[in-house]
């Protein structure tokens, strides 16, 4: 009684006629017609298949908008890990990246792979008594390291801290005053601390980030899979993720680039401060130090006992952030004996006790 299906379905007379024809055939052919394609089931399945295909195509359509697809090459896909690249591999990778940069920004970059120097371990020191929180370092870093302007990515975060505490929870990095410094606050710039025991390196599942012999923790942007584990692991909020393709105006590109540092990053990878290794591995100071108007920032080779940072570590009161975590940062904060900002304007006197002579009349 297969006809019941069509009755229950409220079938059209055409369907009924077709089914009646089928019933008239031999039982063999009847069952094959029942199991096989009717016009109705064909239409239904065709509509379902078309809808499904459309849904799949719609779901995949964002892939067409991926900028990286335009510059996709088998060479990039097959590129080896930084540590496994031969000099020829590196040369080919640098050529490919330089061509990409030329295509995107109309600038022929001076791109190279700079190796660490022998007998050099970098250390940063920052004088909290002198920092006035002007954020020059933040923006010099952005300009030097080809960071995305929109959305903004900044490696350095200057935290305005209430005097008398080192509890970062009480700090505010959104401060926006007409002028700085504010007498009741001090300023704590935080960037990658290049830890000697880096949690971010431990959690990376693909070894896209590692510590170099000169102390700098670097990232191979072509190896990073963008899982953001390192961002979660970093206790100093030092790592940034490229949620979109970084947008940098063509006239703002810094053509002095290195493979492991400030070459333009693709979408979906992590980045962070690398002590300006395109500068410092060639003897120059980091950009944040050069721009600092108060000279609060100090940089150098800790293995040289005569260097400024060695002298500071030996003679000043220094501390590191979150020492209890055992990350062994290479970024040290220090104080002077006397604090010029606090001396300049005395703290407001606490509200005086109500005087008997005011309003009392007694």
């Amino acid at each position: 009684m297969p006809l019941r299906i069509y009755e229950g379905d409220g079938g059209t007379p055409g369907d009924c006629a077709y089914a009646s024809d089928a019933r008239g055939a031999s039982s063999q052919s009847f069952s094959s017609a029942r199991r096989g394609m009717t016009r109705r089931s064909f239409l239904r399945r065709a509509a379902g298949a078309t809808g499904g295909l459309a849904a799949v195509a719609g779901a995949l359509s964002p892939l067409l908008d991926i900028d990286d697809m335009k510059s996709f090459s088998l060479e990039k896909f097959l590129q080896k890990h930084y540590k496994e690249m031969s000099p020829d591999d590196m040369k080919r990778a640098l050529d490919r990246i330089a061509n990409d940069v030329k295509q995107r920004y109309d600038v022929r970059p001076h791109l190279r792979d700079i190796k660490p120097m022998d007998g050099v371990e970098f250390v940063y020191a920052l004088n909290l008594s002198r920092c006035i929180g002007c954020r020059r370092c933040v923006h010099a870093c952005v300009a030097e390291n080809n960071q995305s302007r929109d959305p903004e990515i900044q490696y350095i975060r200057v935290i305005e801290m209430p005097r008398g505490t080192t509890d970062i929870e009480q700090g505010d990095h959104h401060y926006d005053r007409p002028t700085v410094p504010d007498e009741q606050h001090y300023y704590l710039p935080v960037q990658c601390h290049q830890c000697d025991n880096p949690p971010c390196v431990k959690v990376c599942p693909v070894e896209a980030t590692w510590k170099e012999p000169d102390g700098i923790v670097v990232i191979d942007y072509d190896w990073c899979i963008g899982c953001r584990y390192c961002e979660a692991a970093c206790p100093y909020w030092a790592r940034r993720f490229n949620f979109t393709t970084p947008s940098i105006p063509k006239n703002k590109i810094n053509p002095d680039m290195a493979y492991l540092s400030n070459r333009p990053r693709p979408k979906g990878v992590m980045e962070k401060c690398h002590f300006c290794l395109q500068r410092t591995r060639q003897g120059r100071m980091p950009a944040c130090l050069e721009v600092c108007p108060t000279g609060a920032r100090k940089f150098g080779n800790v293995l040289n006992p005569k260097s400024e940072v060695s002298q500071i570590l030996k003679t000043k009161r220094i501390f590191v952030l979150k020492e209890e975590l055992g990350t062994l940062p290479r970024f040290f904060y220090y104080f002077d004996e006397r604090d010029p900002i606090a001396m300049q304007t005395p703290l407001p006197t606490p509200p005086s006790m109500p005087s008997k002579h005011v309003g009392g009349g007694a």
């Binding site: 299906i5 002007c134 150098g300 000043k316």
Partner: protein, 252 residues
Amino acid sequence: MRAASDNSNATPPRAGLAQIAGYLIGPAFLAFAVYLFMSSRHVDLPSAPTPVVTPAQITIAPPRTALGDPPIVTIGGYAQRCNACHKLFKTRDHPDRPRVQHLNITLRHGLNNRCLNCHDRENRERLTLRNGDTVIFPEVAMLCAQCHGPVYRDWTRGAHGKTMGAWSPEVGQQRKLICTECHDPHSPAYPPYVPLPGPHTLRLGSHSAHDVHEEIRRSRNALLHWSSERAASTAPATGDKTNPAHKPKERR
């Protein structure tokens, strides 16, 4: 197959309902998807245009230009050496006498409020030390060190001051800034600086910068604050809760 047909034949009404329901599942999901799509509201997240930082704002030039040797100053529109005048006019050591020259100088150096404490009486192109020796202007650190001993000690070690160029003399040219390249010797305290824009995250619409700071200070969570403000503004008959200038950017 036949057995299945017989089974369904045994309970005709229920099987019919099940089939109708089966046919309706697809359209029902489709309708639900359409409903979700149509009913989703576009949320306007508070944001403001990215502020532009000019290269002039992040110049690496020292804060000041120190006087060299010989010192050249601009007096009356003419650049001239100190001794061009001071050889002609006799020096009168009378501190309370009102100044008639160098009126652009404000002397705000604490107790050190006499010109000739630092400037040499005989040769105005040199500076005088407490022991009677004189030094040229680029060697001003020797003069400052007489009072600012700990700072001078830190400066020689590198903990104070600023070194430009290479991070070590072995790897390149170094230049250590002298005292007067950062500090105005007549009023050595640093002037207040205008801070450059902070991180862009959660910058609230077109509120003035100061308001944002106060709001964040109050709520400690800008997004929470914004959402509560938004709830208040969408609630009916609550008057002028919203800032009329607040026009959040349309999310793409």
